[in-house]
């Protein structure tokens, strides 16, 4: 499905929030590294997709009504075998139905697990005064508690992405602390620039989160993605 088709189908269903599967497909097509993600609608499909993808995998609920998947038991990580995936599928369906009975469950996404690294956040939003802006920050507690993020107007110019990365208070974490190797800064820069280009090419995208992105010496890859369309 092209992004235009995804947008029309969301419009037809009168929703502005794209699913994680839709968002990752669109970003992946635009050159943003995302973890391989497929939609399974039965336990057998999930197990077969995991088999094809290679272990370990993660499973996440796909529902237009669930805002925070882990809060309703909609996420299971580190599954290593056919049986674990099939059981994980059932477990997610059960937990989400129990926690949020009204939720419409479209299925479960089967996802490649990223190698360990530093969690960062890459995002875009539309400022009411200045228009589209890009954001970069460290993930987890740094963004939640400290709001340690940097903004720039989109589209980014040459050097902007690097300035954003260098501006955050926790910048040193990316250079490796406590024996951790430094992450690939160039890969984060490239991701910020790709997302900026994606936003510029698609003005109907009002907001976008890649949270978390796992940055490591090998690169940067988005593990979760969210796209919010502007009201039609």
């Amino acid at each position: 499905m092209t992004f235009a088709e995804t947008v029309s189908s969301a419009r037809a269903e009168n929703r502005t929030l794209l699913s994680e599967v839709e968002a990752k497909a669109a970003l992946g097509d635009s050159g943003v590294p995302v973890t391989a993600t497929t939609l399974a609608q039965t336990r057998e499909e999930a197990a077969a997709q995991a088999e094809a993808m290679g272990y370990p995998v993660a499973l996440k609920v796909v529902s237009p009504n669930v805002a925070h998947k882990s809060d309703v038991g909609g996420v299971v990580l580190g599954l290593e075998s056919h049986n674990e995936v099939a059981e994980g599928y059932d477990e997610i369906i059960r937990s989400v139905q129990a926690a949020q009975p009204s939720a419409v469950i479209e299925g479960v996404s089967v996802q490649e697990m990223a190698s360990p690294g530093v969690e960062v956040i890459v995002g875009m939003t539309t400022d009411p005064q200045f228009g589209p802006v890009m954001m970069f920050g460290l993930g987890g507690i740094m963004v939640e508690v400290l709001g340690d993020v940097a903004f720039r107007l989109a589209p980014l110019d040459e050097g902007d992405a690097r300035d954003m990365i260098d501006e955050i208070q926790g910048r040193q974490v990316l250079d490796g602390v406590r024996g951790q190797p430094p992450v690939d800064i160039g890969a984060i820069e490239a991701m910020l620039n790709r997302v900026s280009e994606f936003a510029a090419a698609h003005p109907e995208v009002a907001e976008l989160d890649l949270n978390p992105v796992i940055a490591s010496p090998e690169g940067a890859i988005a593990v979760d993605a969210r796209i919010v369309l502007a009201e039609a």
Binding site: T125, D127, Q129, V133, F151, D163, E207, L208, R226
Partner: protein
């Protein structure tokens, strides 16, 4: 000097100024603008109230009962009439093809009441329809120090101003102009633009960008109506000269509706800071920070280097000056071996030190040639990007009062150093117990282009903001 052909050029370079509706007993606007007349400008009053006319004529200012009766083309007008009269005045301003008019008159949309809002809409429609330059309303208008057009009786008339200032607030325009003057710095042009119904911040910014009399631009902003236009004008301005943006109203408004994490983190303050960096503007948060940044931009040579040579008079101050500069991200490292060798040949290390920072009162002891020698060594040291020197009012005030020639001598020494050196030089003089005296002395330094700061912290913060001129480091 001007920007020929620019739509704002006439009002920014007036030969004829009309004050409309000024009243006794003070005749504030006529008196503010008396220097314009004294310097040969045509200053006229427009007033129809017969009771006011004798008082106006007593000031030696010719009054007309209609704007259109003024024999010369009017380049700039100040309007101080009651708000309900303002549309009639606007009609005359347009008919007389005045170059631009500032409406001191208030009581418009800022009141939030129906009459004010509708009067403002009426003025806006009239002015826009005629392509007429309106400053304000609800503002203090223009301050043009060279020609003597003023918005306050205490702001200086001066022909050496190099700072253009644009402000949403009238108070901040006046305060900035006064405090700059008290620090020996003058403005080239200033616009207080209030409700900005026609001319907005970007219009003034565009003029100042082109203005050959303006080397540095500063502005006070609360909000921007047209964000993208402002960003474009700001980027263009910073490509030509340093721009300092003092943002008022930093408190974040309530969170807006958002479905993303990014949206919830995008507070107006955070986004603003990012845009300022991206545009190469220097962001400040207060009057003092803005004035301090001006000292650096006008009087310190540019440098993106971080390695400071610090000179203090005592041990305690050596520690404090180092804390302040390290706290702002500067480095206070070793000098070269050659510098140490030269310093060791004459430095008094009893009660002193020639490490970096230099603790040097016991060595200098008021001797000009010794200070010059130290400055020369630090200037030549390739591991030093910038020099900062403390002068203590604690010791100095008594000596300088007893021997005023020592102040002149020190000023000469430092001004001479600055002239010879390519590196930035900053001076810190805490007023200590001598506020009034130091204010006087500080001016002597400032008038010779020596940037003097009131504390280590303010000097360090200003250096961190402005030494690199807002360019990307």
């Amino acid at each position: 000097m001007s920007v020929p052909g620019h739509p704002l050029d006439r009002m920014f370079n007036p030969k004829t100024v009309a004050i409309i509706g000024d009243k006794g007993p003070n005749y504030m606007w006529l008196r503010n603008n008396q220097p314009f007349k004294d310097q040969g400008g045509n200053l006229y009053s427009v007033q129809i109230d017969e009771k006011e006319i004798p008082g106006i004529e007593e000031l030696g200012i010719e009054n007309f009962t209609a704007l259109t009766d003024i024999p010369e083309p009017v380049d700039y007008a100040v309007v101080a009439v009651p708000r309900h009269v303002s549309p009639y005045v606007m009609k005359d301003l347009i008919e007389a093809e005045v170059g631009g008019a500032a409406f001191f008159t208030s009581g418009f949309a800022e009141t939030g009441e129906e009459l004010g809002v509708s009067l403002q809409a009426q003025l806006t429609e009239m002015a826009r329809g005629a392509n007429f330059n309106v400053v304000g309303p609800n503002c203090m208008g223009l301050y043009l120090p060279r020609v003597g057009v003023r918005f306050n009786p205490d702001v200086p008339v001066a022909d050496d101003g190099r700072v253009g200032f644009v402000s949403q607030s009238g108070t901040h325009s006046i305060m900035f102009s006064l405090v700059m003057g008290a620090n020996g710095m003058h403005l080239s042009r200033c616009a207080s633009f209030g409700n900005a119904i026609v001319l907005d911040i970007s219009d003034y910014l565009e003029y100042l960008t082109e203005d050959p009399e303006t080397d540095v631009i500063a502005m006070y902003v609360e909000g921007v109506k047209d964000g993208p236009r402002f960003v474009k004008a700001l980027r263009e301005a910073t490509a030509h000269k340093p721009v300092v943006v003092w943002k008022g109203g930093q408190t974040d408004a309530g969170a807006r509706a958002t479905m993303s994490h990014t949206g919830s983190l995008a507070s107006p303050h955070a986004v603003w800071q990012g845009i300022m960096r991206q545009c190469g503007a220097i962001a400040t948060n207060s009057l003092d920070e803005t004035v301090d940044a001006m000292k650096v931009l006008l009087h310190a040579k540019p440098s993106s280097g971080k390695r400071m040579a610090l000179m203090a008079m005592t041990g305690g101050q050596s520690v404090s000056i180092t804390d302040a500069f390290v706290g702002e991200g500067f480095e206070v490292g070793r000098l070269t071996d050659q510098s140490y060798e030269e310093l060791s040949s004459f430095f008094n290390i009893i009660g002193g030190s020639y490490q970096n920072p230099l603790d040097m009162a016991g060595t200098v002891q008021g001797k000009r040639e010794v200070l010059e020698r130290i400055l020369g060594i630090l200037d030549a040291d390739e591991s030093v990007d910038a020099l900062v020197m403390e002068q203590s009012a604690m010791f100095g005030a008594r000596q300088w009062k007893d021997h005023p020639e020592r102040v002149e001598d020190l000023v000469d020494t430092l001004a001479g150093h600055i002239e010879r050196s390519a590196k930035p030089f900053l001076m810190v003089m805490h007023p200590a117990h001598e506020e009034a005296f130091v204010a006087e002395v500080r001016l002597k330094f400032a008038e010779r282009g020596i940037p003097v700061f009131a504390s280590f912290e303010r000097a360090a913060a200003a250096a961190a903001r402005a030494l690199a001129r807002g360019t990307r480091s």
